[in-house]
């Protein structure tokens, strides 16, 4: 089963929700839709499901045009943010419900419900009712209903957002494993770049209803096509500074200057925006051509095992991601090292013109 969206527009009451989206999802693929709130993720999923018909364009399933076909006649399942279960049915019957509706035989239902429950580690809860379950268990039950019926397409709309982060960590990893054994197309919407990376597969970056880039998740992350994609697909956001290349010298904001290195030598003289990932800036020199910059701490946010350091100087504000716990007070001075060979460069229009050599270059 393949799923193709062809030049899709979707306009609701004069407001464009989706614009010119072309997307081809391969059979058995796991796909992440990454974008901020209101980027169009849910709308795109509703179009894929057939809950709405697009204003323009075609949707093809296995080559067949299903643009106007309603959700009832498409073999799709959906899992939502809210844990949606039948409160009057126990876990077993909740999971069994799509099969009962499809008039699957009793023995087959039993086999598939138990197999699905086992996969989701809720086999010991089959007699319980949804209200007797924790949030994580309720969402596992809802996922069980989506997974049990061998759908052609399974859509997950930020399914883990209402769970605490330890559960998210666990379920993400399981989802990964779950889909390697399946042949259906999975589409998973999230606002979190870290979640997209954890899930792997392919990622489509959406912004204001447009598709910025689609490809293998690690490839989109490491090789963004433009500045917007780089910004959307990084957490904390990639640091962007204005700069200039003139002959043998690179400067950031006309203040920080360093001799051009082999990495950037291929760029023509002119103005650029340079991108430096938060995790590539360090407290200790890593390479001879790192540049040393004095900054002032705004705040050190500690995530438990990592530290997000917000810093500024008179020119710009930056975020640095450090491994481990580093305690800083607001207004502490700090010396940071920027790796000149791990810098991205974007032209005036925002298109990427240089990708760090260790990531394969352009």
């Amino acid at each position: 089963m393949s799923l193709i969206l062809e030049n899709i527009d979707h306009v609701v009451n004069g407001a464009t929700h989706i614009e010119g989206v072309d997307l081809e999802l391969a059979p058995g693929s796991f796909n992440v839709l990454l974008g901020r709130t209101l980027a169009g993720k849910t709308t795109l999923m509703r179009l894929m499901a057939g809950l709405e018909a697009p204003t323009r364009g075609r949707i093809l399933m296995d080559g067949e045009d299903v643009t106007g076909v309603s959700v009832r006649r498409r073999n799709v399942s959906m899992v939502y943010q809210q844990f949606i279960n039948y409160p009057a049915l126990n876990v077993y019957e909740n999971i069994a419900s799509p099969l009962r509706l499809a008039k699957v035989s009793g023995g087959e239902i039993d086999r598939r419900v138990r197999e699905t429950a086992e996969m989701l580690h809720i086999e010991h809860l089959l007699d319980r009712y949804p209200l007797e379950l924790s949030g994580g268990q309720q969402q596992r039950t809802a996922m069980g209903r989506a997974l049990v019926k061998d759908a052609d397409v399974i859509l997950f709309d930020e399914p883990l957002v209402n769970l605490d982060y330890k559960l998210r960590e666990e379920l993400r990893e399981e989802l990964n494993a779950l889909f390697t054994q399946r042949n259906c197309i999975a589409v998973y919407a999230t606002t979190e770049p870290g979640e997209a990376l954890a899930l792997g597969g392919n990622t489509a970056v959406l912004h204001e209803g447009r598709l910025l880039q689609y490809g293998r998740t690690d490839d989109v992350y490491h090789r963004p096509r433009d500045i917007q994609t780089a910004e959307m697909f990084s957490e904390p956001p990639i640091n962007i500074v204005r700069g200039n290349i003139s002959g043998s010298e690179v400067s950031f904001d006309n203040r920080i200057r360093f001799p051009i290195n082999d990495d950037l030598r291929s760029l023509a003289p002119g103005d650029y925006r340079f991108g430096v990932r938060a995790s590539h800036i360090t407290l200790e020199r890593q390479a001879a051509d790192d540049i040393e910059v004095e900054m002032t701490v705004d705040i050190a946010e500690i995530s438990g095992s990592e530290t997000f350091l917000h810093v500024h100087n008179e020119l710009f504000h930056m975020t640095v991601l450090l491994e481990g716990v580093h305690e800083f007070d607001p207004d502490d001075p700090v010396v940071l090292y920027f790796p000149t060979h791990k810098v991205y460069a974007f032209d005036r229009q925002g298109a990427v013109v240089h990708i760090p050599t260790h990531l394969g270059g352009m």
């Binding site: 690690d218 990932r277 438990g304 716990v325 305690e327 007070d329």
Partner: protein, 366 residues
């Protein structure tokens, strides 16, 4: 301003509790020192809200005492405890201006208008609310409203402590760090005891100098963010702090060596000695994914593992490694290539924690 002491405090929602499990708060002694920035961190259902309500006076504890600067306050109603609270959702008067909202707690106790004006302007200045003072509160953004909520706690000079209950829940992710900074600034400037209740390790570690981690009605560790990460005192802290959490291996000592299942874990002799002295059979070795060394080829004191999977997080990867019957997580950074099939790991000795009955045993590495 006050030091808050909890003395042999316990609470059960049941009339006749019989076992430990019947207690939302198991008997504890705890001191929040005057002027400290603290967090109370734990998953939902751990007892942190119960504890907060006992401190603020909304709930009477089953036993034990709450002391403010050494004075028993158990019998004082909330309004006489001079505790300011900031909740998840802003609590402000929508129809009043920002100025009147901030002035409200002062007018209530009959402070003169001139003094009120001075105090309101001081607090508005710190919170960067001066431009909004004349605006009606209902026209403010969520983060501005939450700042007004905080301001109402800060204007009173008689406040003993400020309790924050998940105060950033409604704030946009992009704005959160700014409010976190603001909170730290406020703490430094006003020298008030602050207790920040949350389930989020980032909120807790960013705000607090010291964090009390709660689990099943108990404070299982009271330490700095660095201590929670590097030396978790309880297996729950190891699991809950850090992403992914700490690895734990069930271990035994046989013939002077440490075993996980049938596999030897090379460790210094003193680890074995300590375990040999305990009578418990619940012994775990803890090591953070961040500290495990991963090699492609055999290393001295290494262990052979099978690489089950690798999650690429862009600038680092998390490997799942099978060692005997257990799955271990190890974090390697992007400069290191991801091993395939087989790998060899080593635990830096000073990064190992030994846990007996879930609590860490102190080991002198000298």
């Amino acid at each position: 301003m006050a030091e808050i002491t909890l003395k042999t405090l316990a609470h059960s929602y049941l009339k006749t509790p019989t076992s430990d499990e019947d207690y939302a708060i198991r008997e504890m002694n705890h001191v929040w020192e005057q002027g400290g920035a603290y967090a109370l961190l734990g998953p939902s259902g751990c007892g942190k809200s119960t504890l907060l309500n006992i401190i603020s006076g909304l709930l009477q504890p089953s036993s034990g005492e709450v002391l403010f600067d050494g004075e028993r306050v158990n019998d004082l109603p909330p309004e006489q405890r001079n505790i300011a609270q900031v909740f998840q959702f802003p609590v402000i008067y929508d129809t009043m201006t920002v100025f009147d909202n901030l002035a409200f707690p002062l007018r209530n106790v009959g402070i003169n208008e001139e003094k009120i004006r001075e105090k309101v302007h001081e607090v508005a200045d710190v919170l960067e609310l001066t431009p909004q003072l004349k605006r009606k509160a209902k026209n403010l953004t969520a983060d501005e409203k939450q700042k007004v909520s905080m301001g109402r706690g800060l204007v009173r000079e008689d406040v003993s402590a400020i309790l924050f209950d998940e105060p950033l829940t409604v704030i946009d992710p992009q704005l959160k760090w700014k409010l976190r900074r603001k909170l730290k600034e406020i703490h430094r400037r006003f020298n008030i005891t602050m207790v920040y209740v949350t389930h989020d390790q980032l909120e807790a570690s960013t705000f607090a100098d010291k964090i009390a981690v709660m689990y099943e009605g108990q404070v299982v560790q009271f330490g700095t963010p660095r201590q929670l990460f590097e030396e978790p005192a309880h297996t729950f802290v190891g699991y809950f702090i850090g992403s992914p959490g700490m690895n734990f291996l069930d271990v035994q000592v046989r013939d002077g060596q440490l075993f996980s299942g049938n596999d030897v874990v090379p460790v210094r002799q003193r680890f074995c000695n300590i375990i040999a002295d305990t009578h418990s059979d619940n012994i775990k070795l803890g090591i953070r994914p961040d500290f495990i060394e991963v090699h492609d080829t055999p290393v001295e004191n290494g262990m052979e593992v099978e690489v089950v999977s690798a999650q690429d997080f862009g600038t680092y990867s998390v490997l799942s490694l099978r060692f005997g019957d257990v799955l271990l997580k190890a974090r390697i950074n992007e400069d290191q290539s991801t091993p395939k099939g087989k790998a060899f790991i080593r635990f830096p000795q000073e990064r190992i924690g030994m846990y007996v009955d879930e609590y860490r045993v102190e080991i002198n590495h000298e």
